[in-house]
């Protein structure tokens, strides 16, 4: 299976480790991974800001760049959801592009659900010493049905105990540009979230979307919490020893 890996802009910019973790997991599952250079972002910031013209331009570029592959895989439910659910809506008034968007949508997946549902992976070869809790990011959960898959794979990680997070399906307050347009509301939402996280007693917080992770890690750090924040792919790929998000790098 030839995979066109959609890195996502946040992983590209902030945390390449997540990208390499994803590539490792995909290769171990027997996939051939390529990374088209012509990608930047899925266009969601423009789409959710009402800027349809720019969103369409970016979407056209993504569609063209990824059409040659068997599958498109992204380490994010939000970006995968944009391609899988929203591109077709975006081109509702352009039938030719809508058709191409739908064809690509059928082959587009969020990383962990792709590994479990398409590649049939049911365990990983990884070790992580600690107790983790998992936050279900909104787009992955509600647009793509990512819920059981990460839990299934995390259960196979040696040394890891998973504690369920109360209110795990409640938004963390990131919301893309929402968090900078309404910082006060966003901060209160993420505050409620990290209180729930702390109450689980877990030492590690995992999720499948870097936007949510940066938001929660940023608030935890501001509050002086020692809880480590990681993308779930890092732990599954046995890369859980690199500094966590927001930790000193040197």
């Amino acid at each position: 299976m030839k995979i066109g890996f959609f890195v996502t802009c946040l992983v590209d910019l902030f945390r390449p480790t997540v990208g390499f973790a994803a590539v490792k997991l995909l290769e171990e599952a027997g996939c051939t991974v390529e990374v088209p250079r012509a990608q930047t972002c899925c266009g969601q910031p423009a789409y959710n800001s009402g800027d349809k013209a720019d969103a369409k331009d970016i979407a056209r570029a993504v569609i063209s760049a990824f059409e040659p592959y068997d599958y498109v895989v992204a380490p994010s439910g939000s970006c995968a959801g944009m391609i899988k659910v929203h591109y077709a809506e975006l081109f509702a008034d352009e039938p030719a592009w809508a058709q191409r968007a739908r064809a690509l949508a059928r082959r587009t997946y969020e990383l962990i659900s792709f590994l479990v549902d398409i590649c049939g992976v049911d365990a990983v070869d990884a070790r992580y010493n600690g107790t983790a809790t998992y936050h279900d990011s909104c787009s992955g959960l509600r647009e793509l049905g990512v819920k059981a898959q990460p839990r299934k794979l995390l259960a196979s990680v040696e040394g890891l105990t998973l504690k369920e997070l109360p209110g795990t399906e409640v938004c963390c307050g990131f919301g893309g540009t929402f968090c900078i347009k309404y910082p006060e509301i966003s901060t209160r939402m993420v505050d409620d979230k990290i209180k729930d996280v702390a109450n689980t007693g877990a030492d590690t917080l995992l999720a499948g979307d870097l936007g949510c992770l940066l938001n929660m890690a940023g608030r935890l750090a501001r509050e002086g919490s020692p809880i480590k924040v990681r993308h779930v792919a890092e732990v599954l790929a046995d890369m859980g020893r690199v500094p966590a998000i927001g930790e000193p790098l040197a």
């Binding site: 590209d12 390499f20 990374v35 423009a46 720019d54 970016i58 790098l249």
Partner: protein, 473 residues
Amino acid sequence: MQPTCHAFKENAHAALNDATLQRAISKLGFQAARAAAVARLPEFEALRDRGRDIKNHVLENLDFYLERFEAKVRERGGEVHWCRTPAEAREAVLAICRGVGARTVTKGKSMIGEEIAINDYLAANGITPIETDFGEYIIQLRHEPPSHIIAPAIHLTKDQVSDTFLESHRQYGKTRRLAEPGEMLAEAREILREKFIAADVGITGANFLVAETGSSFIVTNEGNGDLTQTLTKAHIVLATPEKLVPTLEDATTLLRLLARSATGQEMSVYTTMSTGPRRPDDLDGPAAYHVVILDNGRTALLGTEFQDILRCIKCAACLNHCPVYNTIGGHAYGWVYPGPMGSVLTPAILGVEEAGDLPNATTLCGRCESVCPMRIPLPKMLRHWREREYEKGLSPPRYRAGLRVWAWFAKRPGLYHLAARFGMSVLGALGRRKGRFHRLPFAGGWTSGRDMPAPEGPTFHALWAARGDGAGA
């Protein structure tokens, strides 16, 4: 009520810093109740499909059903009043009240009543309106608007209600401060009983209007609606066009969705159907039955990308599950309808210029759509409002400028990767030691409440290119 949607940020700021409000809204139990009710009904998802289809059919044939409804109401001796604007609706209500020489009017809960601010209007014209829903009664005493469409006083604590009763009920000789909700309910009931008997006109809302019979439905948990509409000389139903359903069967389908989605009850305690005024051999009932149908911009949504919001049955599941509503409460939204359904409907009624913040003040997390009994795609419509705002140039100039610069790069992968590589190497070097930034230029929105985790330094694409086995450019 004077809208303050334009001051949403200030409203939200006040709400977030109001400790009493935060205490009141922290204990809402609607989510668990709904989940339990849904779990007990295996066909709930199929019912949602059916509910959506019923309302879609009505919206596609609205003219037919409205006329059919009017004909049936007339057949039963009632009257339908068509009102385009709140002013027309207020005048219609006042004319009916004057026609029967009304001095006091009892009211069941009606959001349309709030939308047209009927209480203020009646009072200004010498007619005393008395809210009889317990929550509405409390906020009327406090001169406040509702903060929730089915639980209007949900923003208040028990202590606040105690204080309000002590102050307002002194005139009836009630001077003991009540501590228990049951006691407060009993005291309000005792006072309201007299008002019900003395009232000349009863105003209620409508959960459904049934075209085949000319009936209106209301659901309540207190029975106040029944007394309001049966004890008076005239019953006025305040409704909007999209409340129509074709048949009684359809109404019962929607009733099976309504209470479960709203409070988690299988049915509300009272479900009351009114069909015309009292007939000669009826034991009781109003002498006149009027349905005031207010449009106020709703039918203009037909055929637009906002048509689906007209399926709304006002259950409030979207409010109850909204993380933003649950953080700031209902008043911050600045008008009658808060939460996700309000953030779609309010710009349609008041204009996106007044209410432009509402569709933006959401994370588009999608929980509202996932619980909506009518499967209304709320996030999609919130995004459509953002499109309208962007087209009209209403989004803040700095935000637009930032978006333009970002989009310019995002459309040029070569330059984008170069700029990203440079920017991240600088940020990465600066943030290496601490791993995060406490302050960053141009990122005040982020860093006011959070640190910004530092990037690892090199971008993924740079590292991948260095690895040397990527698929070429």
